[in-house]
């Protein structure tokens, strides 16, 4: 590097001028609030009266005595499983289909991805209508038409089905995203590997299972992590469609945390749950990595 160039790029003042705006906004809106949340979680506080230090009481209450917390936690696990299964399995299926289509692939991709760009409020409203019983919504109407009229029900207020019903829209909207990610992984597999396997007489299924799957495994892992952490934070659609009800059957940790803080004005307890959501996401990522790595051998 030449001297004048070196001098220009060592301009400390310019470096600060360029860096400070981003750093300030980021520290104040993303990083510092996490520390605040941890701090608040040791207090009992309604936001108005004095903060009362209570040590780990919020956490003991959360893990020990709060049935709703555990209900929300187990609901969250079901919610995550449905969403990850839809996004990664269906995404992978469509990605495979896409590699065998020659015409209209770009159009297919573009249309398939379209639900991902629509606001969750609109998606929630759309599915409210899909699930509607009276007047009859799309789902119940289709069931009637194919002779399964007995199955039609008010999905969102049915105690057995409401949780599934609020999970599906979130899974549905991002299938296209995972389809694209997995599709790019599939087409990046070198053609000669496939040719060689075919010469050895491998069937399509065998080819997929023993050659393609291992090769796209890293991408598959990233997809599962993304889908899992995305679903753990799931909030908008369940909050808008059922607000945790009926009863608590669709309550998730984020919706419970939100209501605790902003409806019950229990900021300390809400913060403890928020901290738990962060830790839970980190553990999920570590866990999935472990699992995928150990499968390798």
């Amino acid at each position: 590097m030449s001297k004048p160039m070196d001098k220009v790029l060592r301009n400390r003042k310019a470096a600060l001028v360029f860096l400070l705006p981003a750093l300030l906004v980021y520290l104040l809106t993303v990083l510092a609030p996490i520390l605040w949340s941890m701090y608040f979680s040791f207090f009992s506080w309604d936001g108005v009266s004095d903060m009362l230090y209570i040590g780990f009481d919020n956490y003991t209450k959360m893990f020990g005595g709060d049935k709703t917390f555990w209900k929300a936690f187990s609901n969250n696990l079901i919610y995550v499983s449905i969403i990850v299964a839809m996004q990664v399995l269906l995404g992978l299926l469509v990605a495979i289909l896409l590699t065998s289509i020659t015409k209209g692939r770009e159009l297919f991709k573009t249309l398939f991805f379209a639900p991902a760009i629509i606001t969750s409020v609109a998606i929630a409203q759309l599915f409210q209508n899909v699930y509607s019983f009276e007047p009859v919504g799309i789902l119940n109407y289709c069931l009637q038409q194919i002779g399964l009229g007995d199955w039609s029900k008010p999905w969102l207020s049915d105690l057995n089905w409401a949780l599934t019903a609020v999970s599906v829209p979130e899974g549905w909207r991002y299938i296209g995203l995972y389809m694209i990610i997995l599709y790019s992984a599939l087409i990046s597999i070198p053609a000669d590997i496939e040719e060689a396997a075919r010469m050895d007489g491998a069937s399509s299924w065998k080819l997929f299972r023993s050659i393609k799957m291992p090769l796209i495994k890293p991408v598959l892992m990233v997809s599962i992590i993304m889908a899992t952490t995305g679903a753990l934070k799931g909030f908008d659609i369940p909050y808008i469609m059922t607000n945790g009800g009926p009863g608590r059957v669709t309550e998730l940790l984020p919706t419970y945390m939100y209501k605790t803080a902003f409806s019950s004005l229990d900021f300390g307890y809400g913060s403890a749950m928020a901290v738990f959501i962060v830790i839970e996401s980190l553990i999920a990522v570590a866990f999935i990595r472990r699992m995928m790595d150990s499968k390798e051998t």
Binding site: A15, L31, L93, P115, S120, G137
Partner: protein
């Protein structure tokens, strides 16, 4: 490419077409239903076409609701957020990737941590902070956190692009007497046009659709943005005005659809990169 025999190929095509219908039809259906009259909604076939096409729902939504206000709020928030994100992240990435700055790798790491952070964890502290400094119910309370959360992935995209800019062309500019500011504004920033487009369209869609911050920090009708405004149409006990709802969804989705179909490559690559934060 996968080679698949005739029969199974036919099955694959049918399956993929069915999946495409499930993915796309609901969106088309919302649009078609927005032209239905009130009588069409009381019928027992939700899939039927409108008996006659009417623009009444659109007139009603636009004249009776506050959609105009929500629209302009959303535009202000989106434009301000995106301008700030582009400027801040392009400048920060320049320091991190191109300037001889001692802490650049630590700073980059600090920013990248933000990709992992769920939005819920900042809601309570920011609500309390914004209440204290009095910006609750203002558009600033939506712009600031959205800039903060957009920075990690945007900086990452700019840093990846700057890696490809060779030092020689910067060298040439310096020889011509450019200082560091000119090198950035006259050369690096204009060169990053493609990255700017990706960051713009990706954030436009995220910001336009943002719900949690808007629902938490805004209680005043006047400062609402579109996603929260759309909730107006959900009536209590399921008494929803579906015609108005579908018209409102259509109107508010058209901008993102236009952007998407114009720049779908940039949208998809941006959303793929940014998905972890969503």
């Amino acid at each position: 490419m996968m080679k698949i025999s005739g029969y199974s190929k036919a099955v694959l095509l049918v399956v993929s077409f069915a999946l495409l219908v499930i993915q796309v039809y609901p969106l088309v259906w919302v649009f078609i239903s927005s032209f239905k009259g009130p009588n069409d909604f009381s019928g027992d076939n939700p899939l039927s076409l409108p008996s006659q096409y009417t623009f009444d729902n659109y007139f009603n939504v636009w004249s009776k609701g506050n959609l105009g206000t929500y629209f302009s709020n959303s535009i202000i928030v989106a434009v301000t957020t995106i301008v700030l994100v582009i400027l801040f992240s392009a400048m920060a990435a320049f320091v991190i990737e191109k300037m001889s700055f001692k802490w650049s790798q630590s700073v980059l790491f600090l920013f990248l941590c933000g990709i992992m952070i769920p939005i819920q964890v900042v809601l309570i502290p920011l609500f309390i902070l914004y209440n204290k400094i009095g910006i609750i119910n203002t558009l600033a309370s939506l712009i600031l956190p959205q800039v903060g959360f957009a920075l990690p992935i945007s900086i990452y995209l700019f840093v990846s692009f700057y890696k490809y800019i060779s030092n020689e062309i910067m060298e040439a500019a310096v020889m011509d007497g450019c200082g560091v500011y000119q090198v950035f504004w006259r050369m690096i920033f204009p060169l990053s046009r493609n990255t700017i487009v990706t960051v713009v369209v990706m954030n436009l869609i995220f910001v336009w659709n943002e719900f949690i911050f808007a629902n938490t920090f805004i209680h005043d009708l006047k400062s609402r943005t579109i996603p929260v405004g759309l909730m107006d149409y959900i009536g209590q006990y399921g008494l929803t005005d579906w015609g108005a709802t579908f018209a409102a969804i259509s109107i508010t989705t058209i901008p993102t659809m236009v952007v998407y179909f114009m720049f779908n490559k940039s949208v998809i690559s941006g959303m793929t990169a940014g998905a972890t934060k969503g």
